[in-house]
């Protein structure tokens, strides 16, 4: 089942440069999609359009079959949550608990049910020990967990992550990526993640590559990364294994495998046969 359908979407900030230039695609319910592209390629614009934070000049977006427009925006926002890049810019409450409660209050969840909902989601994300702490005193990774718990407590079908791990240290990145993968697998939440992290792209089901406001490719991550030349042309990183393959080819040695383990075995085979 399709949960998001985007049709001929057009958007421009200044009526000159197209940030979204006739974009169409569909996203399956429960799937995990990453959007990659260099800065300025239009990927954040696309996320903001899907979340109803920007209004398209033309074209349409259907969320769970409902057309995104001014009338429906409130009911659509109930289905969707966003986690932003900078963990410091998204806190309101003076404690972790208050912060998660804020969204629930906005959705008129009765006070007597709130506590249970908050504790449930805080536990899921591993925040039990932090409930009475001030969000500003947490590490970057912990802050993003609070943001995710706040998003989850609203019971969304879709969560959009806008470079949610890019400001975190390696451990924070790993933790948040694990949580995203778990949400996708265990809770069947549709995940859309804008990222620069190749490892994250590889853990998702699908990848959309953006360039100059258009979709350059949309495919499984393994297929996308086969096209290393095209990726490089639009300023994107190529996985290390593809770089190894290329470097060996330059020295006149062609290997068939795409992953490092396979390559190492292949090379050793060649070594032993020689």
């Amino acid at each position: 089942m399709k949960i998001i359908e985007v049709k001929n979407l057009v958007y421009s900030y200044d009526n000159k440069k197209m940030a979204a230039n006739d974009i169409s695609f569909e996203i399956e319910k429960g799937s995990y999609t990453t959007i990659i592209g260099h800065n300025g390629s239009g990927k954040s614009t696309l996320a903001k359009l899907m979340a109803g934070l920007l209004e398209a000049k033309s074209g349409e977006i259907l969320i769970d079959g409902i057309k995104l427009n001014e009338e429906n925006i409130q009911s659509i926002r109930n289905k969707m949550a966003i986690v932003f890049q900078n963990p410091d810019n998204q806190f309101i409450g003076s404690t972790v608990k208050d912060d998660i409660a804020f969204g629930l209050e906005n959705h008129q969840v009765p006070g007597n049910q709130m506590e249970a909902i908050i504790l449930e989601y805080a536990h899921k994300i591993g925040l039990d020990a932090f409930m009475d702490k001030e969000p500003s005193n947490l590490s970057g990774g912990q802050k993003q967990r609070v943001a995710i718990a706040g998003a989850l407590a609203m019971g969304p079908d879709i969560i959009i992550f806008d470079e949610a791990t890019s400001m975190l240290d390696p451990k924070g990145k790993r933790d948040i990526k694990k949580i995203m993968s778990d949400l996708h697998k265990e809770k069947n939440i549709t995940i859309i993640s804008i990222t620069h992290d190749i490892e994250e792209v590889l853990q998702a089901d699908n990848c959309i590559v953006m360039n100059a406001g258009k979709i350059l490719m949309i495919d499984k991550p393994s297929k996308i990364f086969e096209k290393s030349e095209e990726l490089r042309k639009v300023g994107l990183e190529v996985p290390f294994s593809a770089l190894v393959k290329e470097a060996l080819k330059k020295e006149g040695l062609k290997v068939k495998s795409d992953d490092l383990e396979g390559m190492v075995k292949e090379l050793w085979q060649l070594h032993s046969n020689h």
């Binding site: 400001m167 240290d169 390696p170 451990k171 620069h196 990183e237 290390f240 020295e251 040695l253």
Partner: protein, 284 residues
């Protein structure tokens, strides 16, 4: 030695119940003209250490020599302003500190602050902006209208315009896209190679560290664990495992090749060199 820490400690909220030892008796020397990477997990003391380098923090105990300056705990040091001209500190997410109405004014602010004339400051700003690759037609725009990567470069130009001898960068590539990150790193390599500036980079990106740093300083829990030449550092399996340090991808690949039986003679620091070595061993 450009920088020497002698038994330096730094204690936040010293003498209160909240006292926290962030640096514990640091002994460390860094040479002039090198690129040194400072690594270690969040909370290990890296940022506290670099904040001493231009006297934003002063030692609680011990002493620190930087170029001709000496800071001793408990003693007042004269001329800290001039030290801040010689050591430029680029903070994490430095683009948040842009504030002037035009890019040119923002970059000229630093040199003006150190007493040069407005004309001279402007000249230095233009030079620094050209160095970081901001095109001239943008000079009179607001810095806030730039992309993230461009903003970061303007913030860096603000430090370069002061013409420091030592440049300290706290996570200079965090949050940038791959191309933006590569541009920033290439810029600092150029500044090191062409102008001989000493560069100290705090980083979590070990691939970048492996590619560019001359030496690595590892910190943990307020201590300096070790200082080693980069390749030697990442060859030390016992050390990497003890401190849970992520291996750069090429180091990981070399380890896989060695584990299966390859000898891999030589340093093989780049993929190009490594491929040549592999081909040599395969065809022998």
């Amino acid at each position: 030695m450009a920088i020497t820490f002698k038994s330096l400690s730094y204690i936040y909220d010293k003498g209160t119940p909240f006292a926290h030892v962030a640096l514990d008796k640091i002994d460390l020397s860094l040479e002039e003209g090198k690129v040194t990477a400072l690594i270690g997990e969040t909370g290990s003391g890296k940022s506290t250490l670099v904040e001493h380098l231009n006297a934003l923090l002063l030692p609680s105990e011990g002493e620190l020599e930087i170029l001709d300056y000496k800071m001793v705990a408990g003693h007042k040091t004269k001329g800290l302003k001039m030290l801040r001209k010689k050591v430029g500190l680029v903070f994490q997410f430095s683009e948040y500190q842009l504030f002037e109405e035009t890019i040119l004014k923002d970059v000229a602010f630093g040199p003006m602050n150190f007493g040069v004339t407005p004309e001279e400051a402007q000249k230095k700003a233009v030079k620094a902006l050209k160095l970081v690759g901001i095109s001239e037609d943008l000079f009179n725009n607001s810095p806030l209208d730039l992309s993230g990567g461009q903003k970061r470069r303007v913030a860096i130009a603000g430090i370069l315009a002061i013409e420091p001898d030592i440049i300290v960068l706290d996570e200079p590539t965090a949050g940038l896209d791959p191309k933006g990150a590569q541009d920033i790193i290439s810029l600092f390599m150029k500044i090191n190679r062409q102008y001989g500036k000493t560069i100290i980079i705090v980083s979590h990106d070990n691939d970048m560290v492996y590619n560019y740093a001359d030496e690595v300083v590892l910190m943990s829990k307020g201590h300096v664990v070790t200082k080693k030449e980069t390749v030697e550092f990442f060859d030390d399996d016992a050390l990497l495992d003890e401190y849970g340090i992520l291996r750069p991808q090429i180091v990981m690949f070399k380890k896989m090749l060695k584990d299966i039986g390859f000898k891999l003679k030589g340093e093989n620091r780049t993929l190009e060199d490594l491929s040549k070595t592999i081909v040599k061993e395969v065809r022998r």
